[in-house]
Symmetry: D2
Subunit: 364 residues, 4 copies
């Protein structure tokens, strides 16, 4: 109820501050007998960790996860699975100047007002460092979904106004390979170069820029999603909007669908061929109809605002409401989307795993 818990049947609770001892997560509801591949979990964390490239923050965290419980001889036991990631490179001194001042478009003011106390070091609990715990838990969810043949793939589809073209129809493993071959994590190599150039130039200005991440979920069985309120896309939307800096979510045709006519937008069912499920000629529905997956690719897009910490002087106020001036210190990302790709995938995996189990519950 205090908001550090996500999911129902595949449920996670995360903890940890940017400059505390450690961050971590308990998974309460991982089914038993899932292969817990620690190398895979670490590889996922590596995609999110800071210090990867010139266009990410230079904070050095190895983000090494260890399992505290719930795994026996390499397999999940069905009991609470706890993962711990110690903090290593805290430079809390960098944040002394934040103690009594509110950074613009950060959570300093609202945390102070809500709680009457705040751990101001590096943003405390409001820091995006918290998302490492999500990636670790999401990696476990992915290991579960892998057993079911469900694949999840996200990439950077926009940085500022630089937009990638629609992806070619392709194996997701192939797109993943392309995506991982560039530091901005865009699956279109030409656009990737443009994006990197943009972000690097923004960084040199001491400024930041927003972007978008697009995601595909493939081989999702028909039937996931619980009408009326827990529609699959509603839970995906909540998951994405809970990620730091996200300001928008759309699935299928999204905002552009609101400009279309029904006669264009309707996805026409195609007669089934032997051995194949039902399919539609277009996919404006984004793989979800009536809140329930229909077996087509689930597609959605997430908009991230620019990072609030910039290396410019900004006017603001202090705790007493007096005018003050602030300039960004610490180590920050000029653009979050390259690291956010892993977070989007993790949250998608958590939603799908949760709904997979929910659907299983009622298939008596």
């Amino acid at each position: 109820m205090a908001g550090n818990t996500f999911g129902h049947l595949f449920r996670i609770s995360t903890f940890g501050e940017s400059h505390g001892k450690a961050i971590g997560v308990i998974i309460d509801g991982c089914p038993s007998n899932v292969d817990i591949d620690l190398e895979f979990i670490q590889a996922e964390l590596d995609k999110r960790r800071p210090g990867q490239s010139k266009i990410t923050t230079q904070r050095k965290e190895s983000d090494t996860a260890s399992v505290l419980s719930g795994v026996f001889e390499g397999k999940s036991t069905g009991t609470s699975l706890a993962l711990l990631i110690p903090n290593e490179d805290q430079r809390s001194k960098d944040y002394d100047h934040n103690k009594d001042i509110f950074r613009p478009s950060h959570a300093d003011y609202t945390y102070q007002e809500k709680y009457g106390i705040r751990d101001y070091r590096g943003g405390g609990r409001s820091s995006a460092r918290e998302t490492a715990a999500r990636v670790a838990a999401g990696a476990v969810a992915k290991l579960f979904l892998k057993q079911k043949g469900i694949e999840i793939f996200a990439h950077v589809s926009s940085a500022g106004k630089v937009d990638a073209p629609n992806l070619p129809s392709e194996d997701l493993s192939k797109l993943l390979e392309i995506r991982e071959s560039n530091i901005v994590r865009c699956a279109d190599p030409a656009t990737a170069n443009e994006m990197i150039e943009l972000i690097d130039s923004v960084r040199k200005d001491g400024d930041t820029i927003g972007g978008k991440v697009s995601c595909i979920i493939r081989n999702c069985p028909v039937g996931l999603g619980e009408p009326v309120f827990d529609k699959l896309h509603a839970d995906l939307g909540k998951a994405m909007l809970s990620i730091n800096a996200v300001h928008g979510f759309e699935y299928g045709s999204g905002f552009s669908g609101s400009e279309m006519r029904g006669s264009e937008h309707n996805d026409i069912f195609r007669p089934s061929e032997a051995g194949s499920g039902v399919s539609t000629s277009t996919n404006f529905s984004g793989g979800i109809q009536g809140g329930i997956s229909n077996g087509m690719d689930i597609t959605f897009r997430v908009a991230f605002k620019p990072v609030a910490t910039i290396m410019h002087n900004q006017q603001t106020i202090d705790k007493e409401g007096n005018a003050a001036e602030i300039k960004g210190k610490g180590r920050h990302d000029p653009c979050v989307v390259p690291r956010a790709v892993a977070i989007v995938e993790a949250m998608a995996a958590l939603v799908i795993a949760d709904h997979y189990l929910r659907q299983a519950a009622y298939q008596h």
Copy 2:
């Protein structure tokens, strides 16, 4: 878990099919001593009910709500508050042709696959008729929020490609008056006319069109929203995405914020004046920072796809996967947004009421 429940402390469970005996809602968590103004509840329902104008469906439902429990001498008692809305004008015969066929971009196929059974009459549980129960419950939430001075206002900001300009800074009661003076529920009268013309022409084509609803929540206290996962905008997003036909949600700067630089996007805090809370010079944050309300107007926008039922012949498949043809029957909306305004407000009220109580819980 099966998805008919929304909220935690101010929690609703809805029931009812399009062509069943009745629809309704239980509110489990309405605080005691709220004035339950039945006329207000009815007035809210009247904004959503069918048959209001030439640009809405012609199904005739009075949507009269009665209270079954939880109210004593005009006030809520703190116990379950049940509201019942009988169905009146069912023409189930209109749907016999749907029994064995899947309408494109409807929930027929996914419900059939998920449940192995479906009430095909009027879409059964997947019908937007279900949202009447939300509006009734939302009206109760509004009565609670009214006691706290919190106001909620939505209007149609786009129909197809016809967009309303930004609203003038104005009392919400004044904007409400303008909005209710036209049948499309847009608070800009000139745009309203254009929109009505568009929708009417689409209707005459036997087609449908999408649109957008924009919403403002004013006088929300600082501190609502629970980081990390239950950020206020994440719960608003989920609420909106759970409404039939919604394909996108954005708050504050939204998707356009992803194209901006931090130096433009940051909302600069202004020194407090006597008697006033903190304010910011711009409001790209949409009244929410770190997932917590900051006292500024909360602003968001919701994208609705075009209604799937059109009066054209369409190719589709039957239950056996064979090719079939379908043509819309029944009475349907050419565009949902005029009636959706009441639903968006209701869901917003439910989210804010829930978070109001959550915040109260921890203010010991």
Copy 3:
């Protein structure tokens, strides 16, 4: 969170006051394709309804349940299943004397203090009339469990100090027949007569008496119950303790087990015979080990206090805290256990159905 909801996957929310328009329940989570046998539901309600015999309250309620949603052509559809039971024989006038006075050992004082308002007519929401909604929902749960072969049987094992002997090893259907052949619902005919005599004599004194109900759940599959906190017996205990007037719960060896030695108390596993599951030579564990069902009979016992309304003059206080005198009016039970048998079975069915679905969720 306000307490009118029970269960997670097979979740019910109840509503209604003793003297309101109706009581009822929404089941959110009944799996699809369960045969909804209305006669069975009504027969269950008949076992709980008032006015059955000389040893129950004389209030006349037919307790006729109707289905408002969630059933199509006799089968559950997987969507919210709402059941409505109108109130018929309210004599609210009988309760005018309660308006400003607190009845001893009733909920008048605590409701008034908690909510600042109370529907004093017949106890309002605190009335045991609310349990009719539980019995209706429990009947649906039983119909689901019947498909799985799971049987639930309860009977009155004590009235005051009159205790029934242990039941013979017998088919539950046979025990049910015996139980229903007497008005006190004890499966031992000789004891039943003694109990009836006791209760009738207590009634003639204008007094009331407590009692106990014992319950057996048979053919429950191995594996239901979620350690650590949601042990099967913990959820059964909560369910039973939530029934009006219940003051105690024990399972298996219960309180007497606390006086035993491990060497006596341990249930020795017996080697499996072909075609049979594992069994134990004794069943002090009550069919549950480590919070998880082991396939043996689940056995528990529930203690009910005497009804608080007696036909004697009693000292008490009024709303201002002044001394006052009260004498029971209205129509009340001299002993609740004969009618409570149906409630105990219903709550047991709801717990088992919920845990059945929970277990199914993780059996991927």
Copy 4:
């Protein structure tokens, strides 16, 4: 949903196996600005830890808790509060003989069947070692409740058939002093000696014995508890029944109340005196009426079965269902109640803290 989470607003999730790296807990919902007194938390853990005396297991665990998050400068911040307790003295080898065999009246068989895998070392997750995490979390709840003046006191009221007399009316701090002066934790010194003698003799026999713990909650405000299903005693009952080895729960008059008449059992309200709340002449209600606290002492009693591990040869079966023989190894308690006192208090504190916040939520 998988059962490792307890509470709603003051919610805990625990993790850890008997022989894993560590056990611990996340508290999601501790209000901000609670003084987190680590010495107090440790002192609570010391009352539960093994190796305290000759009548407890000889396993040596210091049970040292450290805070990983949620505390800043000695105070709770309102964000997830994580506590970690490393395991130290695992002798996993002691459990090799359990790998393929099911210990009678343990959770070996049911875990194996439920999950298809089990960490057999020391009982894995089914070990009572898990309760250390509850005691740590309960200590935080106590620190919160202390700020509200609410006190919780439990003691051993029975060991086997040795029963303590009713406690004198006395300050709880005084009773606590007496209780802590003897190793069995009974607040009646004469009975304590008898109990110790009994347990020691049982221990010498290689056997075990059950017992009971009684608990008093004092200064609980009027109004805690949510009818209908979340009655305060129902949640206390569930909490207690979730503790390993508990087989029964009763509050107020409990099982003996079921043998009484209403005219004896009713608690008569006494006119208020200046400056005092309402009180009753007797307290058979155990401080709870209609599921809601009435301001009187809340009293309940918990029955523990004898520990299943005994140092005798016992018949059992192996994983294949074949007859086998087992003899207890490892280090075990001859009677759990002396250590269970701290667990009962912790769980009571968690329930009261949760309901305190729930009540606060609705007191708008």
